[in-house]
């Protein structure tokens, strides 16, 4: 079974993001970029499936600017076999990404597609679900456990108040949650090997997909600053503040 994993290049989780001065987006100049952490988990899961003999090939795909090749090389160093970059400088929203991924799926015919449940930059949490709908296949979102069987896959999902187990017919789409696994560090020898693994660069036009954004960003701004705390001298004053300032009593 071939496994396709989608990875996104995002502002690193540890960077304190700042809006651009003109409010059109988040500042990304001279900011550390890394693989979306949920996608790292997705790659790890695919590689583990392969190591367990349950996947025959792991293909990673990323959509976006040329620098996404770095992100793909990281996935290759983690253990993926080959990579595809659909290169574009255009802004890609979840629906466009899902359509492009569908085109890649049509071309590659994987048995399983694994994505991060959401990207930490836009927090949309839509792409996996949209892709499953476009493909007309089953989806196991927020996965914390993935067990492929014969022509199907059992997925344990993180849901409100507990876990839910679903069984999906293959091919299927899975989105990874935090507890699915702990991604490995990338070994130095594997980084060198990754340089020699195939990385194919395609253009969105080749798929005939319309990637025009459907949503318009009006403004990106910092959340309002919280007022600092105050010390109160007595219980009476505390009650008064809770009633009249915080208005919680």
């Amino acid at each position: 079974m071939k496994v396709l994993v989608a990875v996104k290049r995002v502002v690193d989780y540890n960077v304190k993001v700042r809006p651009k001065a003109d409010g059109t987006g988040v500042e990304t100049a001279n900011v550390k970029m890394s693989m979306n952490p949920f996608d790292e988990i997705a790659v790890e899961e695919a590689v583990r499936l392969q190591e367990a003999g349950k996947a025959s090939e792991v293909v990673v795909v990323s959509l976006g600017v040329s620098a996404c090749q770095d992100t793909l090389r990281t996935a290759l160093a983690m253990g993926a076999d080959r990579a595809i970059l659909v290169e574009t400088d255009a802004e890609l929203q979840p629906l466009a990404v899902a359509k492009l991924l569908k085109a890649v799926v049509d071309k590659e015919q994987p048995g399983l597609v694994i994505l991060g449940k959401q990207a930490i930059d836009d927090d949309c949490n839509q792409t996996g679900q949209m892709l499953a709908a476009l493909l007309g296949c089953g989806q196991g979102t927020f996965a914390s456990k993935v067990e492929p069987g014969d022509g199907l896959v059992t997925v344990t999902r993180e849901v409100d108040g507990g876990a839910e187990t679903v069984e999906l017919k293959l091919p299927a789409v899975i989105t990874s949650d935090l507890r699915l696994n702990e991604p490995r560090y990338v070994k130095l020898p594997n980084i060198m090997k990754a340089k020699k693994k195939p990385l194919e660069v395609l253009k969105p036009e080749a798929f005939g997909v319309d990637v025009t954004p459907r949503l318009k960003t009006l403004k990106v701004a910092e959340p309002p600053k919280r007022a600092g705390g105050v010390k109160v001298a007595s219980v009476a004053e505390l009650v008064d503040k809770l009633k009249n300032v915080a208005q919680v009593l």
Binding site: M35, L188, P189
Partner: protein, 464 residues
């Protein structure tokens, strides 16, 4: 003068909220991270101004009540321990950053500013304060200066001493000195500022400091490597230093790693090796990564390195650093007896071999955790207390170890305390690193600044 009379004079200076005598405060502020002494201070004072610090020094001189200056209390040599009815003078209320100068690239701050707060402040201004170590979230600027703190970036950026461009201190005589005033060049005789750096609170109280800032780190990357033996550590250091712009080079033993992984950090890789090194380097440009790869390739070919990983994100950079930085915390429950020693970098292999033999021969039953900043010749040797052994017996045995260790060090021209200072813990061994003539000058300097011996008495060395 009686305790009550001293407290009355202090009470006339400070309000009760800033002069504490409750058991919790006495216990928490009467000691640092050492667990060798029973804290027993008279009181803890929290001054908020230079004038109050001077008034406290005046009271101390009048009443012969000794003062123990106190910062974040993360020291490991007992320098901030108050065990003999001293007045602890805590700087935690003097914690304002007073100003940033973009042209000078300097910050002026009160002594109680937390190191991490200063680092964050520098970062917000596009620069860095490069003194850095695991206790950054608690350690205070004043304490780091009084102990000339080192840490994990010394091979690239040096010690605290290299970054202090101005100091205001209140001496043991109560005078306020304004030293060097932020100047880069100032050849006007003895540089008193340098005397106060590393003085462990025995000459004066630091009430304000100006520190220089450095350019921000250039996209640092971290590799953790597995090594087959002691010899490989220095070989790897030589080669990586030649190939990369190293900002840190740390080593730790397999045993040290086992405590960190038991504490919750994942292993860097499955291959088990007796030694590990963590190398950090600037990786702003593609050729940096290529140089790292090339260096790794030759190290692996020559059998110097058995396995290794490279950080792929800031998150991984942090996680890999924790393998080294969490060692102290993960062995804390075993009440380790710590030694912090240094030799010239070129002599590290010789020293390591001698130590390895010493422990194998004399103390085969002790569990010894090795880690340190080998890139600057500094090693931390922590002996873990066996669970069945009584504390006093253990400490006595470790003091025996120290004698052997320090004799070896003296022969190699090393230092008995590389960066933790002397305080109480290393005081008995000072003569292994400083000769009698030198110590007599140290005493004379102390007498000049603190004639009544009220500042941190009993630390560093005893009166003649």
């Amino acid at each position: 003068m009686s305790d009550a009379a001293i407290l009355a004079r202090l009470g006339a200076l400070l309000p009760p909220a800033r002069l504490r005598t409750d058991a919790d405060t006495l216990a928490s502020h009467g000691r640092d991270w050492t667990r060798l002494y029973q804290p027993d201070p008279l009181a803890v004072a929290f001054p908020e101004s230079v004038a109050e610090v001077q008034a406290l020094v005046a009271i101390a001189n009048d009443t012969a009540c000794p003062l123990v200056p106190s910062g974040g209390r993360t020291g490991l040599s007992g320098g901030a321990v108050a065990k003999s009815r001293e007045l602890v003078l805590s700087f935690e209320r003097m914690n304002r950053i007073l100003g940033f100068d973009a042209v000078d690239r300097s910050v002026t701050a009160e002594p109680g500013v937390i190191l991490e707060t200063l680092q964050d402040y520098a970062r917000e201004h596009g620069l860095q304060y490069p003194v850095d170590f695991a206790a950054r979230g608690s350690a205070q600027l004043g304490g780091t200066i009084a102990t000339n703190a080192g840490g994990i970036k010394v091979i690239r950026w040096g010690m605290t001493r290299d970054w202090v461009s101005g100091l205001k201190v209140v001496t043991g005589r109560g005078e306020l000195l304004d030293l060097n005033r932020g100047l880069v060049k100032n050849n006007t005789g003895y540089d008193l500022r340098q005397l106060f750096i590393g003085s462990e609170g025995t000459l004066g109280l630091i009430v304000e400091a100006t520190v220089r800032l450095a350019e921000a780190p250039q996209a640092p990357a971290v590799m953790v490597l597995g090594l087959p033996d002691l010899e490989a550590i220095m070989s790897a250091f030589e080669r990586l230093r030649a190939a990369l712009r190293l900002t840190a080079f740390e080593c730790f033993s397999a045993q040290a790693l086992s405590y960190v992984t038991a504490h919750g950090q994942p292993r860097p890789f499955e291959t088990e090796t007796p030694w590990y090194v963590l190398a950090e380097y600037d990786a702003a440009e593609e050729r940096d990564t290529e140089a790292a790869m090339a260096a790794f390739e030759t190290l692996a070919e020559d059998g110097i390195v058995l396995d290794g990983v490279l950080s792929q994100s800031d998150s991984q950079w942090r996680a890999l650093w924790r393998l080294r930085e969490d060692i102290t915390e993960s062995i804390a429950h075993r009440l380790p007896y710590k030694n912090d020693v240094s030799v010239r970098v070129a002599r590290v292999p010789e020293f390591l071999r001698a130590m390895d033999e010493l422990f194998a021969r004399e103390y085969p039953d002790f569990e010894v955790i090795w880690f340190g900043h080998v890139g600057d010749g500094n090693l931390h040797i922590s002996v873990l207390q066996p669970p069945e052994m009584a504390r006093a017996d253990f400490v006595a045995a470790c003091e025996q170890v120290s004698e052997h260790l320090f004799a070896t060090l003296a022969a190699l021209g090393g230092s008995i305390s590389a960066e933790h200072g002397v305080g109480l813990v290393k005081k008995p061994y000072l003569s292994y690193s400083r000769d009698p003539a030198e110590i007599s000058y140290l005493r004379a300097i102390r007498a000049a600044f603190d004639p009544n011996g009220i500042l941190n008495p009993g630390k560093l060395f005893d009166p003649a």
